[in-house]
C-alpha cells in the first residue's frame, strides 16, 4: 500500500532538509570549515554545491520518470538510453565554451532519437540493448577524443566521470530555471502519462495523441538531462533508481510521482555527493562512481525481479 501523499511529502522534505544540512557540514576542512573561514566556505563552496546536487538529482530523476513512462518500462533512464553520453560527447567537443549546454542538448537529443528510431517498435530488451550500445559507442568516441586531443585530456575527464566540485551559484541558477520549466511542462500531461501505463492503444482511445506526447516528453527529458550533464558531467543510474523507489512509496500516478521523484533525486544526489567528498578525504571520488555503485546492482536486481514476476 502506498503512503498518503501528504505524509510522504512531509517525510521527504524533512529528509531533504537533513541531507542539505549534512552536506553543508561536510567538507575536508571540518564541519564548519576551520577557523575564520566558515562563512566563505559554506556560502561559496558548500552551499552552491549542495544546491547543484539537489537540482542535478532532481533533473535526472525527472528525466527518468518521463522515460520510464513513455517507454512503459522501469528499466530505462537517460544514462541507459545514451542521452547522457551523447550530451557529454557533444559538450566535450566544444569545451571550453559558453555553448556547452546547447551542444550537450544537440548531442543528447540526437543520441536518444537514434536509439528511439532504431528500437521503438521492438521489444524493450532491444531498446535497452540499442541504448547501451549507442551509449557505449558515444563514450568510446569521447575516450577517442581524449586521445586525439591529448592536450585537453584532463579537461574531458570531467565529462566522463561527472562531479559537483565545480558548482557555482550561476550553474545552480541556470539549472533551477531549466528544472522548474521542465516540471511545469510535464505536470499538465500527468494524466496522459498515467494512461500510458495501460498501454499505447488505451491511451489513444482516451483521446491522447500518443506519438506527439512521446515526442514532446522525450524532448523535455533530453533537455533536462543534457543541461544537467553540461554542468555536472555524466552521472548514471539516478534516473533509474529514484523513480522506481518513489513509485513504491507514492504509487505510479504522475501528478504525485513527478514532484516526489524530483525531490527524492535531490536527496539521493546530496547524499551521494557527501559520500564522494568524504570517503577518501581530501581526495574527491567522481560522484558517477558512487551512483553507479548503487545503481548497477539495482538495475540487475530489477531485471532479475522482472523475470521472476513474469513466470
Amino acid at each position: 500500500m502506498h503512503l498518503k501523499s501528504s505524509t510522504a511529502f512531509s517525510i521527504e522534505l524533512l529528509l531533504l532538509l537533513l541531507a542539505f544540512i549534512l552536506s553543508l557540514l561536510s567538507g575536508p576542512s571540518g564541519p564548519i570549515g576551520g577557523q575564520g573561514y566558515t562563512a566563505d566556505i559554506i556560502w561559496d563552496l558548500r552551499a552552491p554545491r549542495a544546491f547543484l546536487a539537489v537540482l542535478v538529482g532532481g533533473a535526472l530523476a525527472l528525466a527518468g520518470v518521463i522515460m520510464q513512462a513513455i517507454f512503459r518500462n522501469p528499466l530505462v533512464d537517460p544514462y541507459i538510453l545514451g542521452t547522457s553520453s551523447g550530451s557529454a560527447l557533444f559538450a566535450a567537443m566544444v569545451a571550453p565554451s559558453p555553448l556547452e549546454p546547447f551542444f550537450a542538448f544537440i548531442g543528447g537529443i540526437s543520441a536518444t532519437m537514434a536509439v528511439y528510431a532504431i528500437a521503438w517498435r521492438e521489444r524493450i530488451e532491444t531498446l535497452l540493448l540499442v541504448g547501451l550500445a549507442v551509449g557505449t559507442l558515444l563514450s568510446a568516441l569521447l575516450s577517442l577524443l581524449l586521445f586525439v586531443r591529448l592536450s585537453a585530456f584532463s579537461s574531458m575527464l570531467f565529462w566522463l566521470f561527472g562531479g559537483l566540485s565545480l558548482a557555482t551559484w550561476q550553474k545552480s541558477f541556470f539549472l533551477v530555471v531549466v528544472l522548474v520549466i521542465s516540471v511545469l511542462l510535464v505536470f499538465p500531461f500527468a494524466m496522459e502519462l498515467d494512461s500510458l501505463l495501460l498501454g499505447e492503444e488505451k491511451s489513444q482511445h482516451l483521446g491522447v495523441d500518443v506519438r506527439k506526447l512521446r515526442f514532446f516528453m522525450l524532448l523535455v527529458a533530453c533537455m533536462i538531462t543534457s543541461f544537467s550533464v553540461s554542468v555536472a558531467g555524466i552521472i548514471g543510474f539516478v534516473g533509474l533508481m529514484v523513480p522506481h523507489m518513489c513509485r513504491r512509496i507514492v504509487g505510479p500516478k504522475h501528478r504525485v510521482l513527478v514532484p516526489f521523484s524530483v525531490l527524492a533525486g535531490g536527496v539521493f544526489l546530496l547524499l551521494a555527493d557527501v559520500a564522494a567528498r568524504m570517503l577518501l578525504i581530501p581526495n574527491e571520488l567522481p560522484i558517477g562512481i558512487i551512483t553507479s555503485l548503487c545503481g548497477a546492482p539495482f538495475f540487475i536486481y530489477l531485471v532479475w525481479r522482472q523475470r521472476n514476476v513474469k513466470h
Binding site: 567538507g27 575536508p28 570549515g33 573561514y37 566556505i41 566540485s165 567528498r277
Partner: protein, 287 residues
C-alpha cells in the same frame, strides 16, 4: 613600539617586494600573470611543479600540495589538497594561498573555478625537456627567487648538455624499448622519448602514432631493441624476469644479452629537475 616594529618589518620586506612586484609573467597557457607582491603562500597541484618549487628554493612557501607530490621528502609534510585531476576546492580556499601553481594535468574547468574565487593560478606545462629550465626561471621571477632559480636552471641545462655532448660522441645508438606499464611505451612527443634520444638511444616507440601508446608483442619483437628499460614506482609493477618470459621475447637482443634495466618512474615522467638525473642514468645504461 608596535608602530616601530611595523616600520622595521616594512623596510625588511620592501627590497624583496621590489624584486617581483608588478612583473608580468606569461604562463604556459599563454596567460599573463602579474602579482602585486611576492606570494608567500603557494599551493602546488602537480608533483612536477612541487619538485621545481623545491629545486628553486621556494619550498618553504608551499602550504598545500596535491596528494601525489612526494618528492622531496619535505613535500610529504605539507597539507594535501586532493588529486591533481580533482583537487578539493575547499581545501585550497581554506589554505588561503596567494598563488596556485598547476600543470596541464589539471582540468581547465578546475583552473577556472579556482580563479573565479579570486585565487591567481599559474600554469607550468613544459612540453619539451629544454622548457623545464624555462619553467624554473619563470617561477623564480614570480616567486621572488630569481637568483636561486637561475642557478637551478643553469645547473639543469649544463647537466643536460653534458649528457647530450657525450651521447653525440658515442659510436652507436642502441635501440631502446622503454615501458611504463605492461605493453605501454612512450611515443613521439613524450618526455620519455625525448630522454632516450638525448641520451643517445633510438626509441622504438617513436614510430607510434601517439605520445603514450600500447604496443603488441609482435611490434617489440620485430623492432628487436638492444635495451629494455622498465619503470619502477608507485604506478609500475612489471619485473624484468616477467618481461623475459613474454612469448617470443627470448629472441630479442636485449633479452639475449641480458640488457634489461629498471628506472625510477617518477624521474622520467615528471617534467621537473630530476629529468637531468633521468638523462644521466639513461646515458649510463645506454653506453
Amino acid at each position: 613600539m608596535k608602530l616601530s616594529v611595523c616600520l622595521i618589518s616594512l623596510f625588511l620586506v620592501l627590497p624583496v617586494v621590489g624584486d617581483g612586484h608588478g612583473e608580468v609573467v606569461m604562463d604556459d597557457y599563454g596567460r599573463e600573470i602579474s602579482l602585486q607582491s611576492i606570494p608567500q603562500r603557494i599551493v602546488s597541484i602537480a608533483p612536477s611543479v612541487t619538485e621545481i618549487i623545491f629545486a628553486i628554493g621556494a619550498g618553504d612557501k608551499l602550504v598545500g600540495v596535491d596528494s601525489e607530490s612526494d618528492f622531496p621528502a619535505e613535500a610529504n609534510d605539507i597539507k594535501k589538497v586532493g588529486t591533481y585531476i580533482s583537487p578539493s576546492l575547499e581545501m585550497i580556499v581554506v589554505l588561503k594561498p596567494d598563488l596556485l601553481v598547476v600543470s596541464d594535468l589539471t582540468p581547465l574547468q578546475v583552473v577556472n573555478a579556482i580563479e573565479e574565487r579570486g585565487i591567481k593560478v599559474f600554469v607550468v606545462a613544459p612540453e619539451r625537456i629544454e622548457e623545464i629550465a624555462e619553467s624554473m626561471r619563470k617561477l623564480g621571477v614570480i616567486l621572488g627567487v630569481k637568483d636561486k632559480a637561475e642557478a637551478a636552471a643553469r645547473d639543469f641545462e649544463e647537466r643536460a648538455a653534458a649528457v647530450e655532448k657525450k651521447a653525440a660522441l658515442a659510436r652507436e645508438k642502441p635501440k631502446v624499448y622503454l615501458e611504463f606499464f605492461p605493453y605501454w611505451t612512450f611515443g613521439p612527443g613524450s618526455f620519455g622519448s625525448d630522454l632516450i634520444e638525448k641520451a643517445g638511444g633510438l626509441n622504438i616507440g617513436k614510430k607510434l602514432k601517439s605520445p603514450y601508446a600500447e604496443v603488441s608483442n609482435e611490434f617489440v619483437i620485430s623492432e628487436n631493441p638492444d635495451i629494455i628499460i622498465i619503470t619502477q614506482g608507485k604506478h609500475a609493477s612489471t619485473t624484468i624476469s616477467s618481461v623475459k618470459e613474454r612469448p617470443g621475447w627470448s629472441s630479442i637482443n636485449a633479452v639475449r644479452n641480458s640488457r634489461l634495466y629498471y628506472i625510477d618512474d617518477d624521474i622520467i615522467s615528471r617534467p621537473g629537475p630530476r629529468m637531468a638525473d633521468a638523462l644521466e642514468e639513461l646515458y649510463s645504461i645506454l653506453h
